[in-house]
């Protein structure tokens, strides 16, 4: 017998399936790689170059970060390389980003006294601590004096700071920058690796736990992160019991006939309904329907100002719970059907009622599957943006939905969401170039957050499974 060749040997199918897996893996890695590279790099202190423009008379040299290179079609229709320069100083030397043809560039020089400052408003400021064009020794002294004063000023709380820092532009112009505006500073051209890492983590930390500033292009994303996690948790708390109970009814109690089968198909189809439809439903049913009536019944004295009759955390969580309910039901039912019939029979044969059997045997055995459902629901829910825009998510929420004032959890409040935050940064930002790195960073964070939420559930599930695992399989 000769070995079969070609497609019939089965090698082709093997290659095909391996290829599919490889492609999937590659795409996932590419996604994560892009996000990681573009997102993580944002906080790294980058060198500031003093750029001159010898060909253009009257154009003064500027201090800028050489952000990226691309090509553009010039007046003659030829492609010409150009640099994107980030010059900062939006308030006095706008624009803060500019494209410069490479041909027009003269010398590029990295001044050790270049400083980048993070400010409370107007974005970053770039400048020199010492005036250009004076002897080196003199500059050194001036820079050191400026630094000492700056450090001393930053030790004082922002509100009580007096005075201003004098920044020199590359052409020697001076600009006074009040100390109270400054958040942090670094000297990217004069720093070692360790110092750069320090600045990096300080900025990353601030990003994670600070509220946004400057139309979300500055500051952190903490409210969005917090809102997302809180909303997902609320959704989980709502969807898990409802999903489990529904699945238990469908699988354990309902007569297995046409009606049940139809119900099952309906549930499965719900999973395929576009999420924006859920948003519309949530707005119409929860916000305007349930919420309005709740206001009339419970918060009548606050009317006409709505309490629950307006988009808020509760409605967002409920809408997402509804959205993820099919996933939850299907996963739980799958788990229930995997509980061996013998276990039910054994329990019933020992004189247990159906409820006792369900509670003591079936549900504990199906728990890993329930958690799988939770994982899938969380993954789906945390990534949803569209329906949330209708039922509670806002671009900027003044208050967190969880705080120290009674009743602590404010279900009626609107909240921020990482997914929406990304959308807002990417499409609604007045300053596209400034917002772009933040889009990547936020997206990366969203992915990491979902991974962490899932990982938690996976670990919990593995723990539950391992407790009574049959060592032989």
């Amino acid at each position: 017998m000769s070995r079969p060749v070609g497609w019939r040997s089965g090698d082709g199918a093997l290659w095909l399936s391996t290829g599919a897996v490889a492609l999937t893996l590659l795409m996932t890695l590419a996604l994560l790689g892009l996000l990681a590279q573009a997102g993580f790099g944002h906080f790294w202190p980058k060198a500031l170059a003093t750029v001159t423009f010898p060909e253009r008379q009257g154009t003064p040299p500027v201090l800028a970060e050489l952000r990226e290179q691309s090509a553009f079609a010039n007046a003659e229709g030829e492609l010409e390389p150009r640099w994107l320069l980030r010059t900062g100083n939006r308030d006095w030397a706008a624009p803060d980003f500019r494209w410069v043809p490479v041909q027009g560039l003269g010398t590029v020089h990295f001044d050790p006294h270049a400083v980048e400052l993070e400010r409370r408003s107007w974005g970053p400021a770039l400048g020199l601590l010492a005036p250009p064009g004076v002897p080196q020794a003199e500059r050194q002294g001036a820079a050191e004096a400026a630094l000492t004063a700056l450090e001393a000023a930053l030790r004082v709380p922002p509100g009580e700071r007096e005075g201003a820092l004098t920044l020199f532009a590359a052409d020697g112009q001076r600009q006074a920058l009040p100390y109270r505006q400054i958040v942090r500073y670094w000297l990217p051209n004069a720093m070692g690796w360790n110092a750069k890492l320090g600045v990096y983590f300080a900025r990353l930390g601030a990003f994670l736990h600070e509220p946004p500033r400057e139309a979300n292009t500055e500051g952190g994303i903490f409210p969005a992160l917090f809102g997302t996690v809180l909303m997902v948790m609320l959704m989980t708390v709502i969807v898990t019991p409802i999903g489990v109970i529904a699945a238990v009814y469908l699988h354990e109690y309902a007569p297995q006939g046409m009606l049940t089968q139809t119900l099952r198909v309906a549930v499965n189809n719900l999973a395929g309904v576009p999420s924006i439809v859920y948003g519309v439903f949530g707005l119409g049913f929860f916000v305007y329907g349930v919420g309005h009536r709740m206001d009339q019944a419970l918060f009548a004295d606050a009317l006409p100002a709505p309490t629950f009759g307006t988009p808020g955390l509760l409605w967002a969580s409920l809408t997402l719970a509804l959205l993820t309910l099919p996933v939850m039901i299907v996963a739980t039912e799958e788990g229930l059907s995997r509980v061996p019939r013998q276990l039910r029979e054994a329990s019933l044969a020992l004189g247990a009622t159906r409820l006792e059997t369900l509670r003591k045997i079936i549900l504990p055995s199906a728990l890993p599957a329930v958690l799988t459902g939770v994982i899938l629901a969380v993954a789906r829910g945390a990534g949803e943006v569209a329906p949330l825009m209708l039922v509670g998510v806002v671009k900027l929420a003044p208050e967190l939905p969880l705080d120290g004032t009674f009743p602590y959890l404010h279900l009626e409040r609107q909240f921020m969401h990482l997914g929406f935050h990304i959308y807002d940064l990417a499409f609604q930002s007045p300053n596209v170039e400034a917002a772009r790195p933040l889009v990547y960073t936020s997206a990366l964070l969203l992915v990491i957050m979902i991974v962490l939420l899932n990982l938690g559930a996976v670990v919990l599930r593995a723990h539950l499974r391992g407790r009574h695992r049959d060592p032989l399989g």
Partner: protein, 263 residues
């Protein structure tokens, strides 16, 4: 008209389960037809017959496990001692505490050895740890498993071997001290040595329990039982002493089946 099958009659005091003209239909299909027999007290009675002969259906009628199946119709009468167990108003959970059952596949619950055996006791409301420990030990000893598991009562029952699991399941069933023990192919999933241990255990348990065992292993029925009933196509063909049934069966169908001429 069918002739009355050869059967056995027992003194009223020795009757544990009395089946009278029992018929069971699943969605209109007859699984048992007009079966009448008496399961004697404190003896091992075996039901043998080819697959689909109704032996498991008969066994599952004794603790109303057939109720779980949709579309089942039962007619006739089964008495457990004096009580009519097919009565609609009967508390099925109470019946199942009197009639324990062990299944073909060892089916310990995914919990510890101790909790497995204590399961039925806890269902009955026994909560006190000391009492539970005593009962669990008694049941495990009765099932000849105590010496093997006494040091790992807290280990998962799923870490036991197949034979140990099946004895654990027997211990779980007898922990609630039932009057009857139903064994549905108790050793068919086990290796020969574990099978012998189970058979040995059945012999010992017969001193205190009335045991009904369904098996497709005729040699096993011959080894463990005092009485054997042969069922074929839902009917009782022959019920007699095991020694008689295996050396000189009365009915031709029995003869063909036990000599391996069933085809």
């Amino acid at each position: 008209m069918r002739n009355e099958p050869p059967t056995l009659h027992f003194e009223p005091a020795d009757r544990c389960l009395t089946v009278d003209r029992l018929s069971v239909r699943y969605q209109g299909k007859a699984a048992l037809r007009d079966v009448s027999l008496t399961v004697p007290r404190h003896r091992v009675t075996a039901f043998i017959g080819p697959s689909g002969c109704g032996k498991s259906t008969l066994l599952r009628s004794f603790n109303r496990m057939n109720d779980l199946i949709r579309g089942v119709e039962v007619t006739g009468r089964i008495q457990l001692f004096e009580d009519d167990i097919l009565a609609p108003e009967l508390d099925v959970t109470a019946l199942r505490r009197r009639v324990g059952m062990v299944f073909q596949q060892p089916n310990p619950f995914p919990m510890s050895v101790f909790d497995n055996v204590a399961y039925g006791l806890r269902l009955q409301g026994l909560r006190e740890q000391r009492a539970l420990e005593g009962e669990v030990e008694w049941a495990l000893r009765s099932a000849a498993l105590w010496d093997e598991v006494k040091d790992r009562l807290d280990a998962s029952a799923l870490t036991l071997s197949g034979g140990q699991q099946q004895r654990l399941v027997i211990a779980r069933a007898i922990a609630v001290r039932p009057e009857v023990l139903l064994l549905d192919e108790p050793a068919s999933a086990l290796d020969p040595i574990s099978t012998l241990k189970i058979e040995e255990l059945i012999g010992k348990l017969a001193e205190q329990y009335s045991i009904v065992v369904v098996t497709h292993n005729m040699q096993q029925a011959a080894r463990v039982s005092h009485y054997t009933a042969f069922l074929y196509l839902g009917e009782l063909v022959e019920f007699s002493g095991t020694d008689d049934l295996f050396t000189r069966p009365q009915a031709r169908q029995t003869e063909d089946y036990i000599t391996g001429r069933y085809g």
